[in-house]
Symmetry: C6
């Protein structure tokens, strides 16, 4: 993949949260490189409660990292 992650610093907590979402998604892209297959899977799991909760858990784990990198935006 080309450069997509040059820093964990963000201006605001919300941008940090959105970075966490990107990290969660990009890990999937490394395992399933086809955008078409990922798009098809997205339609399925976006209507499945347990998949959405699991996705939210991955974001939470990355948000811990991003928040620490930004000293919790204190």
């Amino acid at each position: 993949m080309s450069d997509w992650l040059t820093s964990l610093k963000t201006d605001t907590p919300q941008q940090g949260f959105e970075l966490a979402i990107m990290l969660a998604r990009n890990a999937v892209a490394y395992t399933q490189p086809s955008p078409e297959i990922r798009e098809r899977l997205r339609y399925i799991y976006a209507e499945n409660a347990d998949s959405l909760i699991a996705t939210s858990h991955v974001v939470a784990t990355h948000f811990q990292t991003v928040a620490a990198a930004n000293n919790y935006w204190k």
Copy 2:
């Protein structure tokens, strides 16, 4: 999404816990933007023990972050 997360600081641990719940829910909203579909899914997982436990786990992960950001309200 418009601005919804400007700080991780809260006055009390309980407000921090409620912020953790909001973080868990908003990650879902980024993946499933339709409020109608989320409302429909909510009826399902709110009556499923394993889904509720999984939700509680996501909250626990975010609460770690929020608690650290507030120096554990010491």
Copy 3:
């Protein structure tokens, strides 16, 4: 919900563990506010090994937070 979490400090590790259990349960209560439904679900998951293990994992995650907040009761 009324005030239920005013501090993460506890006198002993065991009280901290019991606080972690309360945190795990209260996150569920925010998602499923009906005590009757929660009581009904409890009968089901309390006899399911995988649900009990998942519950124990949530407690473990909260116990990390509570232990850190108490400087590990050193």
Copy 4:
């Protein structure tokens, strides 16, 4: 429950690991207080690979806490 957790300090990493196992089990006991039911469930999940892996994950989470409490036995 009577007093069962008075300190997170242990003499060795192995004792800390065994404390982590006890923490994982005791969280289950708070949710399912019947020793007979827990014993029956144990026979089931002790022969199920996924249940054993999930149990191992809970122990890993508690071991993080116990290891930090002991400054990693440095």
Copy 5:
């Protein structure tokens, strides 16, 4: 296995993220040493949304470690 992990230091966050992916995969290789079986399984889970989310969670956990090792590339 021969030497494959001599340092957790990386030049950039992205290289750290790719190291996290390698760590997640190599843990699997220790448990399932056959490259043929792993390749076969890969075709299955790379088209399964829940498996991909679970994989992403493992990467997130390792990325916490790698990011801390690099002081978040500050």
Copy 6:
């Protein structure tokens, strides 16, 4: 069990990773003490993608602990 864990210190990150794998496996051995049953289960989960991913997650959690104990081998 006899002494099997006397220190979390390792010379290299790779040895730390292999210690994390041992920790993940030994937690299972405390719950299922029979080597024959564990061997039988291993044949099953080593060919199941989701079980392998779950195993990898447990290793990742222990690797966080071991890496911290070694100050990330800096």
